[in-house]
Assembly symmetry: C2
Homo-oligomer: 236 residues x 2
Amino acid sequence: MPELLGLRAPDPMALRAAAWMARCVGRGDSAPLHPDDLTALSRYVQPQTLKAGTVLFHACTASAGVWIIRNGTAELTVGTGPRRVAVALLHPGDVDGDIQLLLDMPPPYTARAVGDLDTYFIPAAAFDALLGAHPAIARRWLTSVAARTTSSQTRIMDLLGATLTQQTARLLLTEADPATSTVRLPQRVLAAMLGVQRSSLNKVLRDLEREGTLELGYRTIRLLDHKTLDRHASRA
Amino acid sequence: MPELLGLRAPDPMALRAAAWMARCVGRGDSAPLHPDDLTALSRYVQPQTLKAGTVLFHACTASAGVWIIRNGTAELTVGTGPRRVAVALLHPGDVDGDIQLLLDMPPPYTARAVGDLDTYFIPAAAFDALLGAHPAIARRWLTSVAARTTSSQTRIMDLLGATLTQQTARLLLTEADPATSTVRLPQRVLAAMLGVQRSSLNKVLRDLEREGTLELGYRTIRLLDHKTLDRHASRA
DNA sequence: TGAGGACTGTCGGCGAGCCGACAGTCCTCA
DNA sequence: TGAGGACTGTCGGCTCGCCGACAGTCCTCA
């Protein structure tokens, strides 16, 4: 979707696009990194430590390689300059850049280290060689990508016919930092992830707050009652 | 999504699920079959000719292998007995069963030959061996699956914020038989593919018919004016 | 060839979410 | 520390699509 790329100011469509794509980045279980593979991977993988603010890759620029987050957080953003907007965060274990590489298409978002960041990096050529030389890893990667396909399909299913409250509860549960039960994103971004209006989302959030299920703050949502939130997520 | 499987009568949710999944079957460009690969594939691929009505695979039963349609049409259905409902059709070049195989999960729909059907079949074990023994093919398959991932993401993007008329136009354009400019599916199924109410879809279709863009018949939609339909698909 | 089932065309009430707007609060950076 | 920018909370009008229902038509299969 090239028409969605290269936008100065993050117009709603670009924001939505990037937010959606970003949520399909390889996560935890579907990440292809398993201890057994590390030996084989080690010849191709470059551990890299990045200073806060370093750009991993730019939107609209061909992916230079595959990034795997080891420690720290990276933000995926759309738009340039002061109008930059974060659409998602990468946490340890997350993988990004591989699908864009495989399909030879640039990512719709820019990735940037929030704090200092430990990563594994696989340059494009090495990724190619890796897949060629290690069928087992290619196989695993195939499974990883397949899992992302079905997970994005599941996400679609979750969406269809689901009320906004349901969608919101699900998003919060999957996106919250498990350690602190907190989601640290402006409501505008969360709304973009769900493809809805910010004011609509805000209304739902206020209702949940009044109910005591969560607590709203500036760029912050703290989940107080997971049980109730679970119920909201599953029940209509 | 196991809760969506194994339903006797196709309730709306199961229908939606299957319709969505079905639309993500490998199509044309993203199909992994290229002439160069045929030599390698030939040792693993079994050409099979099936009589009308033969079942390729059953819903809720582990995928036995990968099917590639050579000639003819197969239908993907949900529900058993007389309440069976078609959610999509497989045409020559389409690939199905591989992702389910990779993830070891059963497909949500049953595939059945409509008329006599020529296929290539790759048994599960052979598919495994194929990917292991031929890195080039595994690589290509990886690209194919990655393409399906982004195509399902693109589909999401097309959906978000798009009016029903837009969605309908897009669906018709992609789903129509190029030879006859005809879509041969009941409106209920089309509605399921879009995740909307049948009556809502019907209203849109009637409007388009009044406009002269298409012609409605029993289980049939004939596209008369592609240009106008294109305009509906892209413009808001 | 007749009967039952499936599909289409249509209606009306209703609720969810869109959209634009605006005031108030919090942050950030000069 | 002050100013401008970003974010939140809220409102109201409005549209779209949901949902249930029902009559009429077309098929299919016994």
